[in-house]
């Protein structure tokens, strides 16, 4: 076993160790099991709406592991979409916190019970606040890109979205602003193409591959099989290296599966599409990096962990109703709106309104 784990594999990447592969596997399983637990919470009435990552693990776990994590311009800024949970889990986010957001609990560290599940906001890791507005993150990403271009160094901006989202003007905004001559921006754009926007086939709405749009702007681009961990890792490593050193944009279109349909609105039932985790497990077994039993154990362990986390989350409270007046403005925390006061939220003499 020890000998097996120290052997590097034949993928041409020095850091591609067995440990790394098993770590990626564990992260993929962690993501999948937390998402499964979240879906169960919809079914049991412990949550309302679910949307998440199943199908994007092979793309996003390798991405998350390669992020330069931290606060400020020298680290990477992340502008994510609602299927990006493997990225933040790879960065070290706690699965239980995803369930807290799923349950809209006061303990939800990303939004205090305000936002949908998988809508992160993590200041200490430069994870920009996420919104359900499709593709707006591509318009916001240019701002952190501009700041990082000016700052220099090797920190970059990473923006992640879906295929349908590229039909929004925000996608074009990112292409235009990141390629202004002499003002190119260090942005890695990653589009996860699961072929659908809810029920609409993307191929019915655009005639050329998305990657061609990036190429038309002179942006170095890759079109990859995002269900394959190795292709994903490689393209992301290459893209990051380019953006970090050249301070110019790079585009990746990754074809991925959408394993539980769009969201809980369509039932969140498992569909017949390729499962990137099973595919990766075959590779691990083939390389003899793990036995079936060991892999099954990873699933069991993570499922148990999620079930335990759910028990904790279940007993946690919702935020109190008067919480709605908090954080309307950035202010020292003791100056927020006093729900007992007679003044209205719009008043200048009310603490929440200043």
């Amino acid at each position: 076993m020890d000998e097996r784990k120290n052997r590097t594999t034949q993928n041409g990447m020095p850091d591609w160790t067995p440990q790394l592969q098993l770590r990626i596997h564990d992260l993929m399983v962690t993501t999948r099991t937390v998402e499964e637990q979240a879906i169960r919470m919809v079914r049991s009435g412990d949550g309302w709406f679910w949307i998440g990552a199943p199908g994007e693990e092979a793309l996003s776990a390798p991405l998350g592991l390669q992020v330069r994590k931290g606060q400020g311009l020298d680290n990477d800024y992340l502008h994510l979409h609602y299927r990006s949970s493997p990225i933040v889990l790879a960065m070290g986010a706690q699965p239980i916190d995803i369930l807290r957001q799923m349950g809209a609990k006061a303990t939800d560290p990303f939004s205090r019970g305000r936002n949908f599940v998988n809508h992160f906001a993590i200041r200490k890791w430069n994870v920009a606040p996420m919104a359900p507005t499709i593709e707006t993150q591509f318009s916001i990403a240019i701002g952190t890109g501009i700041a990082q271009r000016r700052h220099g160094g090797t920190g970059i901006t990473i923006v992640n979205g879906g295929d349908g989202g590229t039909h929004e003007g925000d996608f074009a905004t990112c292409l235009v602003w990141s390629t202004r001559p002499g003002n190119e921006l260090p942005i890695l754009m990653v589009t996860a193409n699961n072929k659908y926007a809810i029920s609409t086939g993307s191929c019915t709405q655009h005639g050329t591959p998305i990657v061609e749009r990036a190429k038309a702007f002179g942006i170095p681009s890759r079109s990859i099989d995002g269900n394959d961990v190795y292709s994903s890792w490689k393209a992301i490593a290459e893209g990051m290296e380019y953006v970090r050193s050249e301070r110019k944009p790079f585009f990746i279109e990754a074809s991925v599966s959408r394993l539980n349909g769009h969201s809980s609105s369509s039932g969140a039932n498992r569909v017949e599409e390729e499962d990137c985790i099973l595919r990766f497990e075959e590779k691990l077994l083939h390389q003899e990096l793990a036995t079936r039993k060991e892999l099954d154990r990873v699933w069991e362990k993570r499922r148990e962990e999620m079930a335990q986390a759910y028990e904790i989350v279940k007993s946690e409270p919702f935020p109190p109703g008067e919480d709605i007046y908090r954080y309307i403005f950035a202010e020292p925390k003791d100056q927020y709106y006093d729900p007992g006061s007679k003044s209205q939220p719009g008043d200048s003499n009310n603490k929440g309104g200043r």
Partner: protein
Amino acid sequence: MATMAQAIRMALAYGEQHLGVTDIFGEDVGPPLGGVFTCTQGLQTAWNSPLDERGIVGAAIGLAIAGQRPVAEIQFCDYIFNTIDLLKLATNSTWSSGGEFNFPMVIKTTTGSGVHGSIYHSHSFDAIATHIPGWKIVYPSNAVDAYGLMIAALKDSNPVLYLEPKAMLRNKCAERIPGEPEDERALRDMIDAPLGDRKNWKPKWPEGLTDFTVPIGKAKLCRTGADATVVSYGRTLPLCLDAADALVKEGIHYDVLDLRTLMPYDWDAIAQSIKKTGRVLFVNEDTEITNFGEHLLRRTVDEFFYELRVRPRVLAGKHVPGVGMAPTLEDASVPQLPDVLREMRELATEPE
């Protein structure tokens, strides 16, 4: 004696030098033009963006996330409408992140009628802007306030929408901004870009400029009178002043309040005046249905129903799709001096 455009320019220059402003950008904001209304001429951090309003607002949000202090311009508020979801994100992201993130940023945009701008250079934005919680919204009516409100906006930790009444940008102020040179010609020579080739031109900012601040959320009582109250802002404020001055000759004395900040608004100042006069008129030029003045009127009724002497009123723009090109159409669409005078006279003289 600076114009409002010069006042804004000087405040931005002060902001670059002392308040950490990193980016002043938008369409034609940087050299050579320095803004279609000259507000950003000669500024060190001014740059031209692509013609893309969503990109402009998105970039401002991203810059704020990255710890910068951006001032972004939407050339005319007529073109801000396709950014409304991003304007919402600029503030609801503080709320939705439970206070994790805040967005120190200013969006400035020119608003309102009065320059023969026809349908797409005459829009107002205050009614829609005040529907977006979390924004601080300021709307100066003279150069001194324009300076002080910009300084306040640049110091704020939240998104501030800075509405510029475009018809007044070239108006000179009777008062002087602290630090402004006495001679207006001298000021022009120092900070107005020359016509023609400007490649080698550099402004000379007045040395005495200060961080003179008009606090956000504070109205200004411009005239005092016990008979009635009129509350306004932006282009219609001087109309109210002129009307109030004219009515003095008829023995009618008005409290004229320049609201200056729409959000969070100075209810104390309004309430105090209504308690005194029992008669109130709210004037602005945005379209009248779901107008900001309607909110103020609703609150007036809620809180002062039994103290009012006569029905409170709103005078606003007509609920029509746009301001037409012909002067007759513009006059019929948005309040003009005779309209304001008539309303104010009627309000003050209606028997109880």
